[in-house]
Subunit: 359 residues, 4 copies
């Protein structure tokens, strides 16, 4: 089990006087969104996501995915989105396959089980699912003569980028997708950090390819430019959203009354590729940070090409850096501590300069 730094901890932090690499959801929203919110504030619009802003945002997302017939829905947050999508797509006797470190298995307070479904776990490899282990699990399940006394696999869940900052290669994602289709299991990609994953250094997957290889995924707004919001996409016209998904969203308490807020945010983020530009910025700053740590002889815990960097620091260095910088202590590795530094679309280069200077 791994974990993030205490929330309580932050109650004592002077966030105004320190430079934060704590997380990618402790800032506001991109100024372009703020501008649109100001411009549209006096308008009246239909509620529940049936307004023109949501329609426009959905069109832009369909275009970006190269899926003109995709079903698109806007929800508020990640845990809510995972619980609603998984519950909507599973039969009552089915569970969802995830690696042990998957967000749904660790940090959602049992939201999946609250919906009546088991999270069936596979080992985590720096946050990634191993395709061979997935294949073996499914083979063993159906080879088990008592499988009808067990929880059926009903879906495969992966995160992109993962909680450890890693990403799948196109070849890996293709292989997982092939297995899912062989077993007729929908593949769900949790894209809370999708922008940072697709814009990662060395990522060889396009949004269109990702949409081709899965059955449902979401573009995470909360961590990448928006105040909040996750755009759920069912890209395959032959496998549209479950019937009455709108009602299922409502039943899960996930339907925002003033849905236009989500439409406005995503319409702005999808305009001229803003979402990906700002994600790329975060990755570039993270790479600068990583290179600086390596140059100073520090060992990275994992080789993350995304906005989350994990480095092994000694307690003295931690004490020194904690004076001016906020970052998370994940877990000890021998005498060292695995520390997480997170950049975001909002990270200022000068703040990275300051940290590099302090290393």
């Amino acid at each position: 089990m791994f974990f993030e730094l205490s929330l309580r901890h932050y109650l004592t932090i002077k966030s105004d006087t320190m430079i934060s690499f704590e997380s990618d959801y402790n800032n506001g929203c991109h100024e372009a969104i703020l501008k649109r919110l100001l411009e549209t504030n006096d308008e009246r619009a239909t509620g529940y996501g049936l307004d023109e802003y949501c329609n426009a945002a959905k069109e832009k997302i369909r275009t970006a995915c190269g899926k003109p017939d995709a079903d698109v829905f806007f929800l508020v947050g990640g845990t809510q989105t995972n619980a609603t999508v998984i519950d909507a797509m599973l039969q009552s006797y089915e569970g969802v396959l995830s690696v042990e470190t998957g967000h749904i298995n660790v940090h959602e307070s049992g939201a999946i089980e609250f919906g009546g479904h088991k999270v069936l776990t596979l080992p985590s490899h720096d946050g990634k699912m191993d395709v061979a282990e997935l294949g073996n699990w499914l083979h063993d399940f159906y080879a088990d003569p008592t499988y009808d006394h067990m929880v059926f696999p009903g879906m495969v869940y992966i995160t992109f980028a993962t909680e450890m900052g890693t990403i799948y290669t196109l070849e890996e994602l293709q292989a997982i997708s092939d297995i899912c289709r062989h077993y007729n299991l929908p593949l769900f990609i949790d894209g809370a950090r999708l922008g940072y994953g697709l814009m990662a250094e060395g990522c060889d997957i396009t949004l269109q390819q990702l949409a081709d290889l899965c059955d449902v995924f979401y573009l995470g707004g909360t961590k990448c430019g928006a105040y909040f919001g996750e755009a759920v996409v069912f890209p395959n016209p032959n496998a549209p959203a479950p019937a009455h998904f709108f009602t299922i969203v409502k039943q899960h308490g996930a339907l925002l009354a003033k849905g236009r807020l989500l439409g406005i945010q995503f319409d702005t983020l999808m305009q001229d590729g803003l979402y990906f530009k700002i994600a790329r910025h975060a990755v570039e700053q993270a790479m600068r940070l990583r290179d600086a740590f390596v140059a100073k002889g520090y060992k990275m815990y994992s080789n993350s090409p995304t906005n989350q960097q994990f480095v092994l620091l000694d307690s003295e260095t931690i004490k020194r850096l904690e004076k001016d910088f906020v970052f998370e202590l994940w877990f000890p590795v021998g005498d060292l501590m695995n520390c997480r530094f997170v950049t975001s679309w909002a990270t200022r280069p000068e703040d990275v300069d300051a940290l590099i200077a302090a290393i």
Copy 2:
């Protein structure tokens, strides 16, 4: 069963060219909130509602309620709040008592049952619960020798103001509260329209009295000045929030990552009584509307002292008004239609003037 006008209907509406009395959640947010969002956008803050804005807003709410030790939590929307609070406070074998027209019984897509709980229904009297009927129901339940084969009453749920625009008198609320305490049942007041209820014409209940008489309630932001947000208050220090309510909120997918957005909105609304001032404005405009209808000889369906007005119109009048105004057709009453006109904190007097002129 009563209902609101089709959402689909609105897809064809030019909301920019028509004057809308459709609902109180089709606008943006109060400019004072927008201003605060602008000022704070570049700041970093702890997530999940543990920031200083949430703390400040909670203090203002405690002060307004006269309950310095109240537990306060911020959630995003109404259905989500009802489901989370009810599920958190009920035992697995308990249900919640509500009038048939209660929002939880009609328009939440079964969110309460999704949590495993039955909605036990009483008759609706213009949206209100009758204290004698509540008392009789509880007496009959415990008099029933087979009650341990039935769903136990675990909570009483009422709305203030109700879905029909009506409100309880202090005497009525006191009587319901007395019965709840006699049976040791928590009383939950759905305050999605609390501001409009407390500022209603002739309302004889103060926020402090309401907090004294119930065990949990919420101040609705979505319909009264905020972009979104409901402030859940457990006013009684002897009956605080259920243990680990934070985790229960997370499990229900109701925990906003950038919780400060809720803190900023409520801190602004609770500053110098803004929440109540703007609610009062909406009520005043609704009263002007009601008086105009009555003066023209139209019959009101119910005598609502709040921002929702229900008037019986003939089809010709409806056709005429629908050219320039958006309002909802609820259900036919004889040859007439019961039409709902809703004002809000954002209603412009000149728009009311225009409607009055058109009547």
Copy 3:
């Protein structure tokens, strides 16, 4: 709300010295079943209902229904069966339509809601659903422009015989079935007392016709000859049991390890129509009782043609009869009490003679 006599009450009853008309599930099982249990006790058989006795019983049931391809499953009890069947056939956003007095709505401790589903209620007419009210409810639901914010109707549930001892005519059942098929809603018939219903005085419905008109029903064993057991039948080959119903039964804790016990009981009951012969016996004794009450000038509360008789008695008569007989006091009607007298397959004619003599 109506109810049965206190269970606690019975703790003080000398059941060996009194004659009981309390219920139809307070006796043992038919001697033919006991004989089979003795004969088979030393055998080993596969568990979970996959044994030869279950197979034989299923064949006999298919033959009796005239449905050679019907899916048949054996569960232990009624509440369990209702919860499993309803949960298996509903989508997560659907509820089940029942009259207010339906067993699932009153006496199952919220087992349906525990599965996440709302019981949508219609008025009860001596326990029966009115076809016009059902039609109107469904029409109004789909006419409601906000229906996608509500709980969808996913199934219609009726009991045969009803909790009030009444039955549907073929014409009434046909009409309900027609509406269900028009709206593509499965019709579920709770047959906890199916034998007593089909063998009722004046019943014009055959088992085959009932199987034709519904999508799932069960033959109740617990109340009619067996120690326990309900045989669930999905008669329509075009609408078989939900996929993996076996696993759903297991998930609901309703799969009996030694399933052969259910097979042996139903194989015996379905042999040479034993189930219906013993049900007919109970009805005949009930008719004798009813005629005797009427002859003595007592008023029947409802005109039940089945094994449950409801008669209005004064307190003096109740006191007199309670000395020697066990029966239930349901609810007061004016100065009188509505009393229930139940016969069963095990009722001895001499006990009915004794009661008739005592009236």
Copy 4:
């Protein structure tokens, strides 16, 4: 993941011509129970477990446990009992700790998750939980600053005897109990095979000690002498059954209408220690079998002191033995297969002789 032999497999078995060591629930019931069922069949008794037979059985169980004030309830089957007890004792945000091979985690089709609870898993050591691993898990959980975003541990679940035939020593059980009490977690012992565990060769735990060390457990009847039935015991007068457990049982569809059947069975099994005598018989036959395998040079997979024996056989031996004997193939170990041979209260010594001769 490990598994049992196909159920389907058995459809082809001539159970009358072969000697079965398949399982301990493929037979009937003990003749003493059958005798009591015959004697009592004509009696009328109150339903739902409120009869004199249940009362007498409860008294005998309290006496056997040395817990005169224990709460005792009778349920029908194991999965049902696990789901009901766990759901009744957990808060909505809590999960249950079990080893990966625990029955609730593998072979209950997600019955625990159906109730909304996560099964939190620890490694299995021949089916047993390691006390140090339990202690470390709990320490790490509360040391994790983000634990309020996770599923709280609400109970510890162990099986006695385990699915692998192993048992805990008194020292081990005491240590687990101490940790549970330190963390204020109820300890639940699944006693589906409790008789075989307590009567195991070398078992140093008495029923009274087991009752002292846990908060709830059950005496399994289905696998040890009864047709069906599990007796749930809450031994600690300071930690009685959850409020309204009767209603919770009903809500879970686990309340048997003719509860006396359970009372009669357990009253018979607890008379003069019959339950333990017949369990001891099964263990003795299993020991004979184990010694014979070992004497012939076969390697046991685990050193089980209970009625389940696991031996590694080559395919040729399996082919030879499968001609006359029924046993389960669990999983391959190198070139060999781990085979399960199960004895029960009903195992005939001559059948064991025959198997020994055939080895």
